[in-house]
Amino acid sequence: MSVKLLMGNEAIALGAIKAGVNVVTGYPGTPSTEVLETIARNNPGDIYVEWSVNEKVAMEVAAGAAYTGARSLVTMKQVGLNVASDPLMSLSYIGVKGGMVVLAADDPGPFSSQTEQDTRHFARFSNLPVFDPSSPEEAYDMIQSAFELSEQVGLPVFFRPTTRVCHSCSTLEISVPGERHKAEGFVKDPRWTIFPSLSYRKHVQLEAMQEKLSGIFSGLQYNRVTGSGSRGIAASGIAYSYAREVLSSINSDIKLLKVGTPYPFPKELGTEFIKGLDEVMVLEELDPVIEESLLELAALNGGRPKVLGKKTGHLPLAGEYSYELIKAAIAGFVGIPAGEKSPAVPPELPVRPPVLCAGCPHRASFYAVKTALKKQKAVFTGDIGCYTLGNAKPLEMVDTCLCMGAGITIAQGLQRVEPDVRHIAFIGDSTFFHTGIPGIINAVYNNTDITVIILDNSTTAMTGHQPHPGTGKTMMRSISEKIDIYNLLKACGVKKITRVNPLNQKEAVEAAKEAVVFNGPSAVIFEAPCIALFKPSNIQKINEKCTLCKRCIREIGCPAISINNGKVEIESSLCYGCTLCSQVCPTGAIGGAEG
């Protein structure tokens, strides 16, 4: 036993190892990424861990493992679950033999996601149980219970931490890892092949299982009632942590229901909770899932208690909750003044939007394409990754962004309606492997005249530099075949493909120009590593030739360049020596020690 500071995702990972997990798959996505990484880092040697090519693939690999009786874990962010929803929906009918946990991390806020979707709806939609931890320490225990429950009921089980649980750290006591779970092996049986007749029978069983699960959950330690009074609060996830802290500071009789498994709702415990209550306030991030369950129980109880929450306008439907928001809601509920003094108003502060790092090769790629398309009517479709930040000033090179892989396909739709406009799709290397390839094949098959720019920085950068099929590195520390993007495009039938280093602007601009005028689908692969993969060198400096034209600042927006005391300066601790500024400078005023 040792006491350590552990991040929620690390606690979940160590809990899974303790539970004897055999196979772990996933696709990187904030805030879920560190779970799989921590398992790989702490692998006792007998756990198979992989970054899969996308979430659908990850879900299926994990399901296959669970068919044998092995314990499997698949990790992703909430939007990844959309990609994996096809296997998920059938898997709830087919079921599993070994415990299988589907970890989908939600991102209230959102901090780094396209949507604020609530995975608990997916649990309800697919009729699968869901665990909703309120802290890293609870998550450590809960993930172990999730594996046990999955095996007990023969169904995959959802695990739904939110950003504040995933990315906060707690003091935890971790015991030695448990034994690996023993898998019986795959046993041939008609139960593994889905057919309409089987689906009907399975659906009947699945619905019956919902009642059983609700009963199991009423007796589980993660759901409990404390306190007494005629007013009640039901809370889950991080909202429960905030509520607990608020309640410790006010003197009021409150009956508190902590919900750790929002679906299927623990009805028996819920019925006991509402007994004698006049009003209940529900505190949960994101959608009113528990609120709806309590409304249902209240309806069966003659309309008592009154349920206050998102549907009554007492709490917001969108955005993340905070201590202050919950304090104000509880204060209003129990009728005490919130007592917040108005905060001091700061002087004007500079906004600091997220930007591409100094030296990021994407800046050079965007700039080259911008130069090549100057004075032409063009639309630039973007995708998910660091390069979405190319939409910011002064580059302004991302006109659309929808979901993983959609840049290539949205461009095709635009092109079909406006054939005289140039349509250029940007996609990163990891996203290309994830869901970019079908879009390429579609463009070739239908001969749609678009240009695809692949920003190959040799890593999955935004989520913290995970390997992918193009890197040839795996999470088992082995080296495998590097999938070559050029040859892949060629095999897909793209007739015009160029690979070029974007840091060489002249060649990069030329390549973009040629690709755009090519009649039919074309591609440019911009190859230059993410700055996190190497040490800075050839640090650039401004010399006496600077005429203060500010072109470097106006055109490329590098965070290392700023004006201080009337002089353009390059912050040497930020510069990576990409030399884009030096190539943009019209007077030769920027150069490096090597140049």
């Binding site: 942590s241 790092c357 000033k393 935004m462 965070p559 930020l574």
Partner: protein
């Protein structure tokens, strides 16, 4: 004992490591600790806020407004942006070196430092302002800014644990290659405040 520390800075400055080191030192001193980070989409260059909550198991991961005991500001505008979480009795250590966002260089927003510094001083019961980058450079690398600021906070008596404990935690938690650099940076911070 309850002690809440807020760390505010810019992505890439080493704020997250600073929060982990403080929490590890608190655990070593026998306290319960929690930390939490708010990080945006960018790998570097965006706003980063870390919360370190020491002493209470019941605490949520985020420090409520008006209750923090200490603010360590890695950048003046980021310190000002978050100072509302500081308690009236709260103290601050702030690095004075400005990191101008790209938006400020493009002249779309202004960055006036004097009112920002004045705002920090007005809203903090005791403030130590220093050029942390200069001290970190002196110690060997600007990357050691985080440990320099921890040294300053420790020497000022702003932390609820012993400076020697913090130093040993730093040595245990950084890569062996950087132990000497971090030791030097921590002591540079200590000495700065002692002068």
């Amino acid at each position: 004992m309850k002690f809440d520390i807020l760390i505010a800075g810019v992505g890439g400055q080493g704020t997250v490591l600073a929060s982990r080191l403080l929490a590890a030192a608190a655990i070593k001193a026998g306290y319960y600790a929690r930390t939490s980070e708010t990080i945006g989409m960018a790998q570097r260059g965006g706003c980063v806020v870390s919360h370190v909550r020491i002493g209470s198991e019941e605490a949520s991961p985020i420090i409520p407004y008006g209750t923090a005991d200490l603010l360590i500001g890695f950048e003046p505008s980021e310190a000002a942006r978050n100072i509302n979480r500081l308690a009236p009795s709260g103290r601050s250590v702030v690095n004075t070196r400005v990191i101008k966002p790209v938006t400020a260089s493009l002249d779309t927003v202004t960055y006036a430092i004097d009112p920002i510094n004045a705002f920090i001083r007005t809203n903090s019961s005791e403030t130590v302002m220093l050029d942390g980058y200069a001290l970190a450079e002196k110690a060997g690398s600007v990357k050691a800014l985080n440990v320099v600021l921890l040294g300053v906070a420790a020497a000022a008596g702003f932390l609820p644990f012993d400076k020697d404990d913090l130093e040993s935690i730093i040595c245990e938690n950084v890569s062996p290659r950087y132990v000497e650099l971090n030791k030097k940076a921590f002591n540079t911070g200590l000495e700065y405040k002692r002068k």
